[in-house]
């Protein structure tokens, strides 16, 4: 049997120390050992039964239960006060064979894999690379679990690919303690696996586009994500180059995403008129006289074995970490003297911004490698239609100059997601984000909650439709926030949640985040009919 250790706790915190939050029990499940003689499929089935037992325990004691991955989210979306479950050790991996494919499937079986929830992005990439495959995109780093990524909509800046959830083709959810509460979801319009595949694992098959799309970005509240079937692609290389370009040009490219007449002038390469795989603009809000912005261009190129001989190892031999005590000293100064923030940002510029004018070539997992900073951090991230990206950036930067906080802005771009509550809801969403070092509340500096409230207000007052990154800091209790962002999508999401989870299970899989955003409130009988 898979075994779970249950540890009594007083508190829990995110990786970037955005808490602490109160907690009663911390649970960790480990799979049955190989010596047991169980096959990987038997271990998977066994783990599902263990999770169902844990859900039953929570329900019986009227407590909430929440799976967490690598706790990278900075909002409290991963937290629940009763029982938190670390799923990182549930990391089985399965290739899909031809005979396991659905008869109407258009997918290539060689590109489909089933990963158990706790597989982290780095281990998935390493596993795939050994067989010549690659994920389509990741976030800026590699520590998150696959279930955590899709639950919160982790994204990179891959203009024509989308976010992590956008290459998911199947979801295995455990929605309660009973045998019928093990379900496997696929889109009706995109079947992938033969029914018997998951039936043999004890799951009921549901093929429905609306249910699948709602469950995809489920905010950890559509049940326990046990397994994820994803589509990958053949290994490719990325050619990364950072340079400063004219501010007007950088913003024009952001607003249009039209690269047909643009030449990035990258040494020893001709990418004139080529739309990059990834486009990212950095901006220091305190440097208003800046005529150029640092911009990161990444182009997709064909994979070949000897790329390190031509370009060197993209992973540095010697990795340097920012001296945390120094950063924290800067923040202490910033709290007492907010006017010093622009100067502090200028001093830290070389540590914050990427090195310019240096070509790096590597696999996806090498370009978006281990995070260099794991101390206290905050991030506020807004999704806007890319055509309004420069306007949104200017408004938010102006607000930041008026209320200085220790961070810098960046803009990343993502293709529209089909997930009901994906923040990448525009045809091409520009994520305008400010990342920086967390500060303590102090009378001389604006609080993070107030700052993020003002950010929401400024976009609303200027009629810029927006979304917010679920895993980042925001004033999540802002009245009518989620409805403002997603409109009828909220009702659709709640309706599916009501269909997948019984009323007691909706309570088990709720948390403070869901309560504050009012997503835990079920639909009224009339609303249910309208959707």
């Amino acid at each position: 049997m898979a075994t779970t250790t249950i540890e009594e706790r007083q508190r829990w915190n995110t990786l970037h120390k955005n808490g602490p939050f109160p907690l009663k029990f911390f649970l960790t499940t480990k799979l049955e050992k190989d010596v047991s003689g169980l096959s990987p499929f038997e271990k998977y089935k066994d783990a599902a039964l263990e999770i169902q037992q844990l859900i039953k325990q929570a329900a019986d004691t009227h407590e909430r239960f929440r799976a967490i991955g690598s706790k990278w989210s900075m909002s409290n979306i991963a937290h629940c006060e009763d029982r938190m479950h670390l799923n990182s050790f549930m990391n089985l991996k399965f290739s899909i064979f031809e005979g396991e494919m659905h008869e109407d499937s258009d997918f290539d079986h060689g590109n489909l894999f089933l990963f158990q929830c706790g597989n982290q992005i780095k281990e998935i990439s390493l596993y795939l690379e050994r067989i010549g495959k690659s994920l389509k995109t990741t976030g800026a780093s590699n520590g998150q679990t696959i279930a955590g990524c899709i639950s919160t909509g982790v994204h990179g800046s891959t203009i024509d690919v989308g976010s992590v959830q956008d290459y998911v083709v199947g979801l295995n959810l455990i929605t309660g303690p009973n045998p019928e509460d093990n379900v496997y979801l696929e889109r009706k319009s995109g079947p992938a696996l033969r029914d018997t595949y998951f039936q043999n694992l004890g799951a009921k098959i549901i093929r429905d586009d609306e249910i699948f799309n709602a469950a995809l970005v489920g905010l950890g509240s559509m049940g326990f994500i046990h397994g994820v079937v994803i589509e990958v692609e053949n290994l490719f290389l990325l050619r990364r180059y950072v340079k400063k370009i004219d501010k007007a040009e950088a913003l024009k490219l952001a607003d249009t995403l039209d690269f047909t007449n643009f030449d990035p002038k990258i040494p020893d390469a001709d990418f004139k008129g080529v739309r990059p795989f990834h486009y990212k603009v950095f901006m220091n809000p305190y440097n208003t006289g800046e005529s150029q912005y640092p911009v990161e261009f990444i182009y997709k190129i064909k994979y070949y074995d000897d790329y390190k001989a031509d370009f060197g190892n993209p992973i540095p031999f010697q990795k340097e970490f920012v001296y945390l005590d120094l950063i924290y000293l800067f923040i202490k100064i910033a709290q007492k003297l907010p006017k010093s923030i622009p100067k502090l940002i200028k001093m830290l510029k070389s540590s914050i911004l990427p090195k310019e004018e240096k070509t790096t070539v590597g696999k996806l997992s090498e370009i978006f490698w281990d995070a260099g900073y794991q101390g206290k951090a905050f991030a506020c991230s807004f999704g806007v239609d890319h055509t309004q990206s420069s306007k949104a950036l200017e408004l938010l930067a102006k607000l930041t100059r008026e209320n200085p906080v220790p961070g810098i802005f960046a803009m990343r771009f993502i293709k529209k997601s089909e997930a009901t509550l994906a923040f990448s809801k525009f045809p091409f969403t520009c994520m305008v984000e400010i990342d920086g070092i967390q500060w303590d509340d102090h009378k001389k500096i604006i609080s993070l909650k107030e700052y993020s409230r003002k950010m929401i207000e400024v976009l609303k007052n200027n009629n810029i439709p927006f979304t917010l990154h679920w895993g980042k800091n925001a004033d999540w209790g802002f009245p009518g926030l989620v409805e403002h962002m997603f409109g009828d999508g909220v009702k659709k999401w709640k309706k599916v949640r009501g269909n997948l989870l019984s009323v007691p299970m909706q309570e088990v899989f709720s948390n403070d985040f869901l309560d504050v955003t009012k997503l835990s409130e079920p639909l009224g009988p009339d609303e249910d009919l309208i959707v």
Partner: protein, 137 residues
Amino acid sequence: MFFPQFLSITFKHLKFETSTLKAFRMRFLKIVLCFCVVSIMASCYSVRFQVENGQWEPADTEREDAYAGYNVHTLDTVVTRKLTTGDHYFNISDCPSGALHTVEYRSTFGGILLNAITFGRHKQVKIKYVCIKENSM
């Protein structure tokens, strides 16, 4: 401690132990102490090795350093070498994957001193290591 005693003898011989000299001596003592502290601090260092193609074993901790999110094991001991003993090694038995992701060794002033004054008989060993996550390979 060596420098203040030496100074004290020198000043006694010269019979110049006035209040100004006392203040000077205190200041000198402080400088020497600072120098010693800086020397000791500078002689403490750690070196970390990490594999680039492996998944670290995760842990839910409240660390804020480079090991945040890593399950860190520590080995802190003093090895006593016998006259007939040559090199020795430690068996790491708490990595279920059987592989290491990170190893860090730490050198301290105390450790170097211990080794020196015991003519290499006692050796301080301070190691941190992180395993590769089980089933990740």
